[in-house]
């Protein structure tokens, strides 16, 4: 029951807020924030009640929905799902606080964010494709409107691109799954992830139709690749992230991008092991491209928000590197089990940590934009350290965490990924290291151009972080330190799930 409550709580709250009268904006905001905190509490409670030792699904709920089509309302979490739920539950209040001062239709904004949160929870807990797809699509609409109505000057274009790309990907995924369902024989036909995985494991999924299997695999891959995004399907992202309002950008990068990676782990990994093995090399190449090219592009940017956006793509590239590197069939003999486990653990850690750091970064950039009078160019500022030392310090921490400095939360994930990848696919890993370098360069460039150097006259009155802002950003900052020093908190959850995944590969 608890998972259903968790999923529908934000939705209900969002509907209630939307129905409030026009003069109840403040009430709406407060209600939204309270609902997000409640969700966070529930998520934490879930964490506490979770049994770390067990590798399978817990808190399972299963109700038959459309029996004739094999569609079930099937929820469950394992370590991976729980981590994603926790991440979403953490980021949403953060994003709401970042958007507290929105003037134009705040009630609608907040209810859309809550709908988005429901979509996120639903996606991360779903165990049946149609159920999963429903929430996947459900998160699309609020995101579209959030960009469209509250975004920057080119928001129409950005929102449209976002919508089209994601929609095309979703349709490809749906078509692939339908083909999968329709061609399976009646006994094993299902939309359930676990059942499909079991059938695949026995080799009964496509019964020899190689081309069909490849087509289905590519279809689902396309859908997920657009979401993550994987180069070359990433072109929607810079525009969307930079035109989105701050809170939305935080959500997009912090939680929504993880939906794609989650999809890789939840769907492609268990159900299509053969195809992943077959396509491993090209996919690794794409992952490497996703790491290097956006980093280079970020380096060339002059807009702070765009730089952060590109860096998001780059960081997700590491996740994909980890997944594809680990996608080697073991065929009985354990080839590199430790490395595989390491890589996958790294992926999950990276998902969580990047969510936190990237949203923090977008928050800070948003603050800069606010205080700078809608300016956010790299060269528009300078020497802000003198005017706002606390701000600079905190943003610096976030930047270093994003960099992967040991001691902060960005490090364990990247470390584990590379540990695994270097053994599993050293060529790609080597190429990706250059991505690490480039990332370091441009992140430090931000630090230098914006914070150090002489302070121009017009910024001398630059306000430092207010108390409210400090309180907003404090939890995430604290987590950056804690998770940097105690990654066991995360690996404790991730590892059993990873082992389970590897077992069934």
């Amino acid at each position: 029951m608890i998972l259903s409550i968790l999923t529908f709580l934000p939705l209900t709250a969002g509907v209630l807020i939307a129905l409030l009268g026009r003069d109840r904006q403040k009430l709406g905001r407060n209600l939204a924030f309270a609902a997000s905190l409640l969700s966070l509490t529930l998520a934490v409670g879930l964490w506490v009640a979770f049994d770390n030792a067990q590798g399978g699904m817990q808190f399972v709920e299963s109700v038959s929905w459309v029996p004739s089509l094999g569609i079930e309302y099937h929820l469950g979490v394992d370590g991976l799902g729980l981590l994603m739920v926790l991440l979403s539950a953490l980021i949403v209040p953060f994003a709401l606080l970042a958007s507290w001062k929105i003037e134009n239709k705040p009630k609608l904004y907040f209810s859309l964010v809550l709908f988005l949160e429901s979509g996120l929870f639903g996606t991360f807990t779903a165990q049946n494709f149609i159920h999963w797809f429903l929430f996947w699509e459900l998160s699309l609409i609020p995101a579209f409107f959030l960009i469209r109505i509250w975004g920057g000057s080119k928001r129409g274009y950005a929102a449209s691109q976002f919508f089209i790309y994601t929609m095309v990907g979703s349709v490809a995924m749906l078509a692939a799954f339908l083909a999968l369902y329709a061609t399976a024989d009646a006994a094993t036909r299902s939309f359930d992830f676990a059942q499909l995985a079991a059938t695949a494991h026995q080799g009964g999924l496509f019964a020899g139709h190689k081309t069909l299997a490849t087509a289905v695999f590519l279809g689902i891959l396309l859908g997920l690749a657009v979401k993550v995004p994987l180069v070359p399907f990433h072109t929607w992202l810079p525009a969307a992230y930079s035109e989105a309002p701050t809170g939305t950008a935080m959500l997009l990068t912090g939680a929504m991008s993880k939906m794609g990676v989650y999809g890789f782990l939840r769907i492609l990994w268990p159900i299509f092991p053969e195809q992943m093995q077959t396509w491993r090399t090209p996919l690794l190449a794409l992952a490497a491209a996703t790491i290097v090219l956006p980093a280079a592009a970020a380096f060339a940017q002059k807009d702070l928000k765009r730089m952060v956006a590109y860096s998001s793509v780059n960081h997700l590239g590491y996740c994909l590197l980890g997944i594809f590197a680990a996608a080697r069939l073991t065929d009985g003999s354990a080839l590199f089990p430790n490395e595989q486990a390491a890589a996958l653990n790294g992926v999950i850690l990276q998902m969580f940590n990047h969510g936190l750091t990237a949203s923090a970064l977008f928050y800070f950039v948003g603050l800069i934009e606010q205080r700078g009078g809608a300016l956010r160019g790299l060269n528009d500022f300078g020497g802000l350290r003198q005017a706002a030392p606390v701000f600079c310090g905190l943003m610096g921490i976030a930047l270093f965490a994003s960099l992967g400095l040991p001691g902060l939360n960005g490090f364990p994930g990247e470390f584990l990924i590379f540990k695994g990848a270097l053994n599993l696919s050293w060529r790609t890993a080597l190429i990706s290291v250059s991505g690490l370098l480039l990332t370091a360069i441009f992140l430090l460039t931000i630090l230098q151009r914006v914070f150090s150097g002489p302070l121009p006259g017009k910024w001398s009155g630059w306000p430092d972080l207010t108390l409210a802002e400090r309180l907003t950003v404090l939890p995430v900052m604290a987590l950056m330190f804690v998770l940097g020093v105690f990654p066991q908190l995360l690996t404790g959850l991730a590892n059993p799930a990873v082992l389970q995944m590897l077992k069934s590969f």
Binding site: W65, V66, P67, S68, L69, I71, I130, F133, L134, E137, L138, I141, F145, R148, I149, S153, K154, R155, G156, S160, F163, M167, V168, V171, A175, L178, A179, Y181, A182, T183
Partner: protein, 496 residues
């Protein structure tokens, strides 16, 4: 109980005709009461039928001798499929009355004609005597004509006459087929269940099937006989377009299923592929044409043609899942089309007096009419077939069925869905969400969305979302109905 849906509607129409005075309020109230009573009877009747009957039974509602000379009986009965469509009619009727609350000119006659149309539609869905079905089918033609020609807008005389003549020609074709079937059967009865058991000769079935099917399918918007639909929908007043697209087009599909497919299964086999091709062409063509329209209502009109293509494709797959999807799509599209026409006609056109997308675009309607914007957004999401709304499961089932019977057509239909998403999204943006640069233009004030409109919109939205989330409510009616005695010929024809 179910028969009262028919009687209440006609009784309401008769009373409205003789209501004195010009005041619209008593007319509206009476119409709303009649529609609500009809819906209540439909729901109660559906529950009753579902409870008493076993899975897939045909429940008799009324059975009395009528014209002994020809073996015609006044025979009403319902199985799951009829119940679903009766429920659709009830909901659409109530919504239509709510959205016509502002009709001032000759409102008595408007609502009288409206209720007469509803009564005829109920009758078609409940009849199992072919003569009776035909009577109700034709009864529905005249109110449509008058509704459009008196209260319509663009080119209403042309649109109304085109609609009436197309419908009448279609029913003429059906009449020929019916008489021929009666004569060839030689059993001196018009009862559908009896005639379904008659083994008509194959050569006869081959032409009789296509004549009767096309006769009905004209009204369902089968390409290329669909040309009455866009013109008619645009010319009609809001409530009439809601009913036309929502319910009347389903009459055609229902007739095609109940009469053509049930009586002439061999003919069905012969023509299955051809009609499936036409259906798919309709899906894609309707969507493509909708993509380039400049008139708001034309977009929705063509989208109806496209969605009905799904229904016809589902029927032609001759699989359980395809047929279930087709019936569910009939219900779903009925609600969604009603919603979309309500927004276009009642909420937007009645206030802005334009349907030209180029003129609407700078009006920034999402600020001026936020309720309409939200309703239209949800309606578009449902129309696109997004999960969580009723269209998703229906289209899914049709696609799976199509994949089983004609894989290529299934893929083409999926392409049609994509184009559907494209045009829906285009019209949504153009109509309600302006480009970025026109913030400075002062907003033209529009009257707020009134209470009846809100109630109507909520009713339709709630229905599509409820069925989207709990499709079992309807699937529990449809799936067993596939085993009803009326569907036996389809099983024999090789339904899987």
């Amino acid at each position: 109980m179910l028969a009262w849906t028919i009687y209440i509607s006609f009784l309401g129409a008769a009373i409205l005709m003789f209501l004195p005075g010009e005041n619209p309020l008593p007319a509206r109230t009476l119409a709303l009461l009649a529609a609500l009573a009809g819906l209540a009877c439909a729901v109660m009747g559906a529950i009753e039928c579902h409870r008493h009957a076993g899975a897939g039974a045909l429940t008799d509602v009324a059975n009395a001798p009528w014209i002994a000379e020809l073996g015609i009986r006044y025979h009403l009965a319902a199985d799951g499929i009829s119940l679903v469509l009766v429920l659709l009619t009830g909901i659409a009727a109530v919504a239509g009355v709510l959205f016509s609350w502002n009709v001032e000119n000759r409102s008595r006659e408007f609502f009288a004609l409206y209720l007469a149309l509803i009564g005829g539609v109920y009758g078609v869905f409940l009849s199992v005597d072919l003569f009776l079905l035909f009577v109700f089918y034709e009864v529905a033609i005249i109110p449509k004509y008058f509704l459009i020609v008196i209260w319509g807008s663009t080119r209403r005389e042309y649109g109304a006459m085109k609609l009436a003549l197309y419908s009448f020609v279609g029913s003429a074709m059906v009449l020929v087929g019916l008489i021929a079937a009666y004569v060839v059967a030689g059993t001196k009865t018009f009862d559908l269940a009896e005639l379904a058991k008659v083994p008509f000769p194959a050569a006869f079935q081959n032409w009789a099937f296509i004549v009767v099917f096309v006769g009905f399918a004209i009204l369902a918007g089968l390409w290329p006989f669909h040309t009455w639909a866009p013109t008619g929908h645009v010319a009609a007043p809001t409530a009439a377009s809601m009913l036309l697209a929502g319910v009347v087009m389903k009459l055609g599909a229902y007739g095609a299923l109940r009469v053509a497919m049930t009586l002439f299964p061999i003919g069905l086999h012969t023509w299955q592929n051809t009609i499936a091709v036409l259906a798919v062409v309709g899906i894609v063509y309707g969507a493509l044409v909708a993509l380039v329209q400049q008139d708001f209502k034309f977009v929705i009109g063509y989208s109806s043609v496209s969605h009905m293509g799904f229904v016809l494709l589902g029927l032609m797959t001759l699989t359980q899942i395809g047929l279930t999807g087709a019936v569910l799509q009939m219900f779903s599209h009925g609600i969604i089309a009603g919603l979309l026409f309500a927004v276009v006609g009642r909420m937007v056109y009645d206030r802005t007096h334009t349907r030209d997308l180029a003129v609407l675009q700078p009006m920034n309607l999402n600020r001026v009419l936020p309720f309409a914007a939200v309703t239209f957004v949800v309606g578009c999401a449902a129309s696109m077939g997004l999960p969580g709304f009723s269209g998703f499961i229906a289209e899914l089932q049709v696609l799976v069925g199509a994949w089983q019977s004609f894989p290529v057509f299934g893929v083409l239909a999926a392409v049609g869905i994509l184009v559907g998403i494209a045009f829906t999204w285009r019209v949504l943006l153009k109509a309600f969400f302006a480009e970025d640069k026109v913030e400075a233009r002062p907003l033209t004030p529009c009257p707020r969305i009134s209470l009846p409109e809100r109630v109507g919109a909520v009713l339709l939205l709630a229905t599509t979302i409820t069925i989207g989330l709990c499709p079992g409510l309807l699937l529990d009616l449809i799936t067993p109905a596939l085993n009803s005695p009326l569907m036996q010929p389809l099983w024999k024809a090789g339904m899987r």
